[in-house]
């Protein structure tokens, strides 16, 4: 068994779902964000695409999840409902495909390790025949040589993308939730934009958004949005449920 290194959002999702047999909507998004951030921390080398793709998936999941968290989810119109269904189907199909190739990869590895017990003969003709050998460089020109050089030298180190702004995120959903519980009673009402304007990255904004969702789910804040895409007003409802531990808030059954 290799050490668990999650390659991307699908991988992590599969792992969380299959390991714990969890309801995607119960544990989920916060855990996935946190676990994914932890993985990003452990990667010393990250392609920016991975992070971007992750945000896309996270957004889809947040959308799916919030449709259940919000009390008026029954009033979704048919189009929105259908759209959610097709997103679900798409996600399911992709997860299945991902899982299929995981299993295929394991089988290939098995085959390779069986075949790897044997070593091929590569000695070639002995000296007696060497002067008969036609041009080894047949069909190879200077440009092919340059291409080979470039291949050999650029292939190895994967280009490093500066990811300081991604890996340096010091926050988790739990932490932000706790922070908001501490800050909001004094502030009263605050817009989501103001709350997040100092954040450097999209992932941090997602983390804040999830934290707000959790507080809303627990009845600790009221949220309202005047218009589509408008600023979300968050109001402390003053009913802190201090008997519930805040650790693992995301697993809380709402």
């Amino acid at each position: 068994m290799r050490t668990e290194v999650f390659e991307g959002p699908f991988d992590l999702l599969l792992h969380l779902i299959l390991r714990d047999e969890v309801d995607l909507y119960e544990v989920m998004v916060g855990d996935i964000v946190d676990a994914y951030l932890a993985e990003l921390d452990r990667m010393d080398n990250l392609n920016l695409e991975v992070a971007t793709e992750f945000l896309l998936i996270a957004a889809t999941l947040v959308q799916l999840k919030s449709s259940r968290l919000l009390p008026d989810s029954d009033s979704l119109d048919l189009d929105e409902e259908l759209a959610l269904w097709s997103e679900r189907d798409l996600l399911l199909a992709r997860l299945l495909e991902c899982q299929t190739f995981k299993a295929a990869a394991a089988a290939l590895e098995q085959m390779a390790s069986m075949a790897g017990r044997s070593y091929s003969r590569v000695a070639g003709p002995d000296e007696r025949y060497l002067d008969l050998v036609p041009d080894f460089l047949e069909g190879i020109g200077p440009d092919d040589l340059r291409a080979a050089f470039v291949r050999a030298t650029t292939a190895r180190p994967t280009p490093r993308v500066d990811i300081a702004h991604v890996t340096d995120i010091p926050i988790s959903v739990d932490e932000v939730t706790a922070e908001l519980v501490a800050r909001l009673p004094d502030i009263g009402t605050v817009g989501f934009r103001e709350l997040t304007e100092e954040l450097a990255t999209g992932i941090e904004v997602v983390v804040y958004f999830l934290a707000v969702l959790e507080l809303y789910k627990r009845g600790m804040v009221e949220v309202s949005q005047a218009s589509t895409f408008g600023n979300i007003a968050i109001t402390w409802s003053g009913e802190a449920d201090l008997t519930e531990p805040l650790v693992g808030v995301d697993a809380y059954e709402g």
């Binding site: 290194v5 779902i17 119960e26 695409e49 998936i57 899982q99 069986m114």
Partner: protein, 194 residues
């Protein structure tokens, strides 16, 4: 006739012995001037002889041709001998990417990325560098994306003669319990609000 067959047998053994890559039976047939079927028959006969005689090597058919390789039972000794330069294991990311290319070839990097859900550039580059995957052409459609396929050396690494010897992909589709788990978890929302 009998002498001729002995000569052909010897020629097959000699040619495969000096080759650096699997030798296609058709090529041997041309060089020895016998039908390809006879080459094939000689090769299976030889392979069987080596097996019966308990040789430390075997004659195998991989990647479309015949080649000598050490017998798997001798692994521990040969391993000590060839310690240097042996390829390291592939990461699970590279392996999954390789599986996708193997089953879906030819395909573009973007298609691989779409299936894996993460960018596959790095893994594809590793596989190309290891000589397991190579560029076979361009997509005739818009964009003319480069298309990739597995190399003969990939077949050899897996001990396969041809790509259609891979176990069918359908064998790896998750079992119903896994599908159910995924489905339940994705559909929970629906069930609860119903």
């Amino acid at each position: 006739m009998r002498d001729e067959n002995i000569e052909a047998r010897q020629a097959v053994e000699a040619i495969v012995m000096v080759a650096e890559e699997p030798v296609p039976p058709g090529l041997m047939a041309q060089l020895i001037e016998i039908p390809t079927e006879q080459v094939e028959a000689i090769c299976s006969q030889l392979a069987e002889e080596y097996r019966v005689q308990g040789r430390g090597f075997e004659l195998v058919r991989v990647a479309g041709g015949y080649r000598y390789r050490s017998h798997p039972d001798t692994e521990s000794y040969v391993k000590r001998f060839v310690v240097s330069g042996q390829s390291t294991r592939l990461s699970s990311a590279a392996l999954e990417t390789l599986a996708i290319v193997a089953y879906k070839q030819p395909l573009s990097r973007a298609q691989v990325s779409a299936i894996r859900g993460v960018n596959a550039e790095g893994a594809m580059r590793t596989l190309q560098q290891r000589g397991l995957v190579y560029e076979v052409g361009r997509d005739p459609g818009p964009g003319n994306a480069r298309l990739f396929a597995t190399t003969p050396s990939f077949l050899e690494r897996l001990g396969l003669d041809a790509i259609d010897e891979l176990p069918p992909l359908v064998d790896f589709v998750p079992g119903s319990e896994v599908i159910e788990a995924l489905e339940t978890s994705l559909m929970a929302d629906r069930a609860k609000s119903a």
